[in-house]
Symmetry: C2
Subunit: 254 residues, 2 copies
DNA sequence: GTAGTCAGATTGTCCGGACATACAGATTGA
DNA sequence: TCAATCTGTATGTCCGGACAATCTGACTAC
């Protein structure tokens, strides 16, 4: 008895709007992604060949391929020559992003609070100057913040920003995250180099985070670059490891 | 006086070999990447338009675009409509990979040594079974290793693998990394979900790593998936933070 | 002198087709 | 019965062209 396997995309109500300014391949990839997220396309199921899919939608094969490729890049689909394209069957959800502590907390429903400790211009130290690519002793913004969740201190964040990029309003810093401020100022975040480690808390650090001297702290240093490759932020953060850990979803470069 | 700006790719001796089985777009992207790495293409320099580049190489524009796009995805190039494609001018080097401690150490010239403490089949605990997607109490490989550099303990690695994937030879485990073993067994690593945190060392952990009880430890948990989405490895690692920290290069998803 | 407008340049999107390559299953042979 | 071969199918690669969207810089008008 032949397998009753049918192309699952047939049931899907796929359609594209040619009058929309949204690219056709993007419309398609969004619909496919939604179907995967929603469970309509079950993990492991084959997607049906590109040619036929293109014909059914009235698109060309390159356009369909572009849509599928974007989902492959996100890790949602797997293509196999001679076999077909199938939905990855795993817990894999989102790839990974430039994680923002504020967004992370908000997504977890923690309603984060921020207390700005310092917000001023200071001369750049050698370390800061090297990270940001500015001259030593030139002015840079220094922002120190304490991030709280449920009234408990969670992390101490010390950031440096080159001058002239955005105006750092203390009130805004207390109600939103730094990355959101930068994005809304028209800065396109592109990549970041970061280092995660651990060390014992100094007395000063312990006091800030309501820990004891010598308690383990999770540390993170990060330099963020915009789409032109300029450094736009350098930060040194310390987290209470009982309250926070870093979660990543890595994709292997191929 | 007009700008003496010239297309820097002209000086480059770009060429493709049509008799090679290596795809043309890949040949081109490799040559461009090498030129960027080598400094021949300086950061910020414009790449010259795609049409002319395609004509000079005897390629079509889609092929050239595919080559350029792969470097954009790696974060080495930036395209701007109406302007052109230019080399990112920053310290950005490699994107990020599924980091392997063994490879990291070897790249740092540390000549890592490994001591296999345990290598046997055990029934899967609830935690391991959930991570690997196998039935509870079914057999899984358990591998415990101590990683040393310069004779000093550096990390304690505890890994679980589903049975039947590879044969875990203790001698091989002591001379190479787990990921290399998996790759050479034909497993295509695809993605991983990992969590990085910190905690105080228990007496047992401290003993293994030549630290003191209560000393801060860097911890990492990871589930690795192959290209079909099956979990192929689950690991719980502890690192000495004075000897090791995690370095990432993140790209923002667009 | 300043602001708005226009033209050129370059990438973004999309099409239709062609052939190569690799995998899975059926067929054929020993 | 088992292994080697063949065949169909699906993706991988590549081509040549067309038009749209956007940015830069120069020109024009006020």
């Amino acid at each position: 008895m032949p397998k009753p396997e049918v192309d699952p995309t047939v049931q899907l109500e796929l359609s594209v709007d040619r009058s929309s300014p949204v690219p056709l391949y993007f419309q398609l990839s969004q619909q496919l992604e939604a179907a995967i997220e929603h469970g309509t396309l079950t993990p492991g199921s084959l997607l049906g060949n590109e040619i036929e899919l293109a014909a059914r939608l009235g698109l060309s094969r390159p356009t369909v391929r572009q849509a599928i490729q974007s989902l492959v890049d996100k890790g949602l689909l797997v293509r196999r020559r001679g076999v077909g394209t199938q939905v990855v069957h795993s817990q894999v959800k989102r790839p990974l992003e430039l994680s923002s502590l504020y967004d992370d907390l908000e997504a977890a429903g923690q309603r984060p609070a921020t207390k700005v400790l310092v917000n001023k211009l200071v001369p750049a130290s050698a370390e800061v100057a090297a990270a940001l690519g500015v001259a030593e002793d030139s002015d840079v913004h220094r922002v120190e913040r304490l991030r709280l969740a449920h009234g408990e201190p969670m992390a101490y964040l010390c950031n440096f920003l080159p001058p002239g990029l955005i105006d750092l309003d203390t009130d805004q810093l207390e109600t939103t995250g730094l990355y959101r401020l930068m994005r809304s100022a028209g800065i396109t975040l592109h990549s970041a180099r970061q280092s995660i480690g651990a060390r014992a808390a100094t007395t000063e650090e312990a006091e800030r985070l309501a820990e004891e001297t010598g308690a383990p702290l999770l540390t993170m240093q990060r330099v963020t670059f915009d789409d032109t490759g300029r450094a736009v932020e350098y930060g040194t953060h310390t987290y209470r490891p009982t309250r926070y850990s870093f979660e990543f979803q890595l994709l292997v470069r191929t």
